[in-house]
């Protein structure tokens, strides 16, 4: 009986010990831990979290890690790649349980910067004479809050308009300017002239307009007001023109083609006169020997150019146990060496205009198109900030589908405006509640 009691008690203790161990063990065996607990002097392992869905990008990360570990033999990088649609959730939950990595992609989450989840890099950059003034201003605006720099990237990705020079010549249309964007009405007129249904050629292809039109067509310049802007006569006209162009067959409907994923493919096959896509498409277009030009994306008549930009922006989390080594890694990602490696492996434009000019990116393929691409990327500038922007403007995605389906832009945008305003108010309320740690 006693033996039974003892064995029962022992089993109970073992189970409790297992449960406690399971609940308290670190999620990774790395030396990264919570809290800024001082500097390590011996070998260090940095955890790096990243999102990606394409092979070349991941290959670049492995290559840059190998180069970094060669330069800093005492530091080892433990890279984890997440699918993009889970990435924010992963980081948020990691912050919640204080198990964030040392280095992470900042994505477009300015909330993390405001909440002090990432360290400002200014002191490190200053101490190491790293000048980021030549870095693309559009990208850097996503890394900068209250004049402090929180992240760095290796390349300047951008949303641009590619056009087929041969088709333009055949249609009697002049080549486009690399510095002055077309107005939306000029754009849809050109698209109609380029369309040749007999040859299965569309004049253009574009994703939902809110993804490439300036955000000032949705909200006021301070980012706080949507009503009266997204349903203004000017925005209604833009959306109506684009929906009409789609309905008339100058552009494929969103259900015929996902322009963000397939637009470049169709353009590279000579099935599109113009396409709004990302600069990463240059290689595929050149591989298919298309004579192309690059122009800024269309804007409302009389507006300044608007170029949406992105990059692999990495920062050091405030929980990093090895902030110095983490800063070294982030600085390395933004170094000319990393930018040139990125250009070589993925074909992207270096984030620094100076490095891009010196590297010969423009002469690596079709010189005219690439020179224009460099000019277009150089036009990027900080845009109006909207917290959780894609959540806020969500109704415009279904809205454009409704317009293509036959509803007027007037009725759709009038209905969407209060919804977007409601989303916007809540986003700003959440933003204002975020307080940086004292």
């Amino acid at each position: 009986m006693k033996r039974m009691k003892r064995s029962s008690g022992g089993a109970l203790m073992a189970i409790l010990a297992l449960v406690i161990a399971a609940c308290t063990s670190s999620p990774s065996g790395s030396s990264s831990g919570s809290g800024n607990s001082g500097q390590s002097t011996g070998p260090v392992t940095l955890t790096v979290w990243y999102y990606n869905e394409s092979g070349p990008d991941v290959n670049f990360m492995h290559a840059i890690i190998a180069a970094f570990e060669k330069k800093y033999p005492n530091t080892t990088i433990d890279l984890t790649v997440y699918p993009e649609n889970n990435y924010i959730t992963k980081i948020n939950t990691a912050f919640a349980v204080k198990s964030a990595p040392d280095v992470a992609n900042v994505y477009d989450q300015m909330e993390w910067l405001k909440a002090g989840k990432f360290l400002a890099l200014d002191s490190y950059l200053q101490q190491n004479n790293i000048d980021v003034s030549s870095f693309n201003q559009g990208v850097m605006s996503q890394c900068t809050l209250d004049s402090n720099v929180y992240c760095l990237g290796s390349y300047a990705g951008a949303v641009v308009m590619f056009y087929n020079r041969s088709m333009f010549r055949e249609a009697g249309i002049q080549d486009l300017s690399a510095t002055t964007p077309l107005s939306v009405s000029e754009y849809v007129q050109d698209a109609a002239r380029l369309t040749d249904k007999a040859k299965d050629v569309w004049g253009t292809a574009f994703g939902t307009p809110v993804t490439w039109l300036p955000f000032t067509t949705v909200v006021s310049s301070d980012g706080k007001t949507a009503t009266g802007v997204v349903d203004s006569p000017q925005t209604i006209l833009l959306y109506q023109q684009l929906a009409d162009a789609t309905r008339q067959g100058s552009a494929p409907t969103p259900s015929t083609m996902d322009a963000w994923n397939q637009g470049i493919d169709f353009f590279a096959q000579g099935k599109l006169g113009m396409v709004i896509g990302t600069l990463g498409g240059v290689n595929e277009i050149e591989h298919n020997h298309i004579s192309y030009g690059v122009a800024p994306t269309p804007v409302p008549a009389g507006s300044q150019p608007y170029i949406a930009t992105f990059s692999n922006t990495f920062g050091v989390t405030s929980e990093s146990a090895h902030p110095q080594q983490a800063e070294e890694f982030v600085a390395f990602l933004g170094s000319p060496e990393a930018q040139l490696l990125r250009e070589k492996m993925v074909g992207d434009i270096p984030i620094s205009g100076d490095v891009a000019q010196q590297s010969g990116w423009a002469s690596a393929g079709e010189a005219a198109g690439r020179q224009e691409a460099l000019q277009v990327v150089g036009l990027a500038h900080p845009s109006v900030y909207i917290p959780t922007v894609w959540d806020v403007v969500g109704p415009l995605f279904d809205g454009f589908n409704e317009m293509v389906g036959g509803q007027t832009a007037q009725s759709v945008l009038t209905k969407a405006a209060p919804q977007i305003q409601s989303n916007l108010d809540r986003a700003w309320t959440d933003w204002n509640q975020i307080q940086a740690p004292s």
């Binding site: 009986m1 039974m4 029962s8 089993a11 109970l12 189970i15 449960v19 609940c23 649609n85 924010i88 959730t89 948020n92 939950t93 912050f95 919640a96 909330e111 993390w112 909440a115 989840k117 939902t208 409907t253 969103p254 259900s255 015929t256 959780t388 894609w390 959540d391 403007v393 969500g394 109704p395 995605f397 279904d398 589908n401 409704e402 293509v404 389906g405 209060p418 919804q419 409601s422 989303n423 809540r426 959440d430 509640q433 975020i434 307080q435």
Partner: protein
């Protein structure tokens, strides 16, 4: 064993005598509880704990990155003014109104067909049941292509049948929810099999009796089949209702195919997921979860309460 039962004195209700369990029995109980302990701890930490925690969180502004503060009922009070909440409630309600009766009626109709004595019926039953074993995600991806308004097979067929302007299905906010109902119909075989089991449990003598009374096909269905199937009908409606509250995977995949940001398929659980996990509003998301639980429980209770009037149990002693 039989002897024990024979020896046991009859116990009248209300007069049960409390007998102190033997030491051997108590020891057996302890061992039993010890073996149950891992499961009980799982229940405590992974079910009861999160339920209590989610209620506590629903009274806070917990959002991963700011200091958590107690906000009382603010999250609940904010719901009516939230467009996404109202939209999600409307979409889910619309889906329940469309799907529950349609699935119940179509499932019953199919089960009646599957109950016919036709050669090769087992093959038909297998074919009909097959779609319901496929993953919801795979089915959703398949139907995104079939329902494509421009080159999908469904609209191609409709155009060939003379409908010049067929619905734009998932690309149209008006047709998006009916499209999901249509997609669900493809997997109706699972519900039909449950009806079929119910049909085959109806005693043949009831049909014989009603036939002797001169009832035709409709009479047999009206006075025997339908009343005898009402317990199955209750089960199918109940599970259909619960499923309708839980629509997530298909909507999430379909919404992704539509650009992932449209609101026309923002079902309640999709909205809850977005608020809690994508937008990081965990306190608000918890409030959304509790509202859904309360509404779903109320709907189920209402269904049970009304079932006394229309569900016929053959051996119900109260009838």
């Amino acid at each position: 064993m039989r002897g024990d039962l024979k020896a046991a004195p009859p116990v009248e209700p209300g007069h049960a005598r409390r007998v102190r369990p033997s030491r051997r029995r108590r020891k057996q109980d302890r061992v039993a509880y010890l073996f149950l302990l891992p499961w009980l701890m799982g229940l405590l930490f992974f079910v009861i704990g999160p339920i209590i925690l989610s209620f506590v969180l629903s009274l806070t502004n917990y959002n991963f990155i700011t200091t958590t503060e107690f906000v009382g009922a603010s999250n609940y009070k904010a719901l009516p003014a939230d467009f996404n909440f109202r939209n999600a409630v409307w979409i889910t309600f619309k889906y329940i109104l469309l799907s529950v009766p349609i699935y119940a009626v179509v499932g019953l109709g199919l089960a009646l067909l599957l109950n016919l004595r036709v050669r090769g019926m087992n093959l038909f039953r297998t074919i009909l049941f097959l779609p319901s074993v496929l993953s919801g995600v795979a089915v959703a991806i398949l139907w995104v292509t079939l329902l494509n308004p421009d080159f999908g097979a469904v609209n191609w067929l409709l155009r060939h049948l003379g409908l010049s302007n067929p619905p734009r299905w998932l690309a149209s906010p008006e047709w998006a929810v009916p499209s999901v109902v249509l997609i669900g119909l493809w997997s109706i075989g699972g519900g039909a099999i449950i009806y079929l089991a119910g049909l085959q449990n109806i005693p043949a003598h009831l049909y014989e009796a009603v036939s002797l009374d001169g009832a035709g096909y409709w009479g047999r269905f009206r006075y025997v089949t339908l009343p005898m199937l009402t317990p199955t009908l209750l089960f199918v409606i109940l599970t259909g209702l619960i499923d309708a509250f839980q629509v997530f995977d298909v909507a999430y995949v379909l919404q992704g195919a539509q650009g992932s940001l449209g609101a026309s398929l923002n079902f309640y659980l999709v909205n809850l997921y977005d608020e809690a996990f994508t937008n990081g509003r965990f306190g608000y998301g918890s409030a959304l979860a509790w509202v859904m639980i309360i509404v779903a429980a109320a709907a189920i209770l209402l269904l049970f309460k009304t079932s006394g009037r229309w569900v016929y149990y053959e051996y119900d002693p109260n009838r």
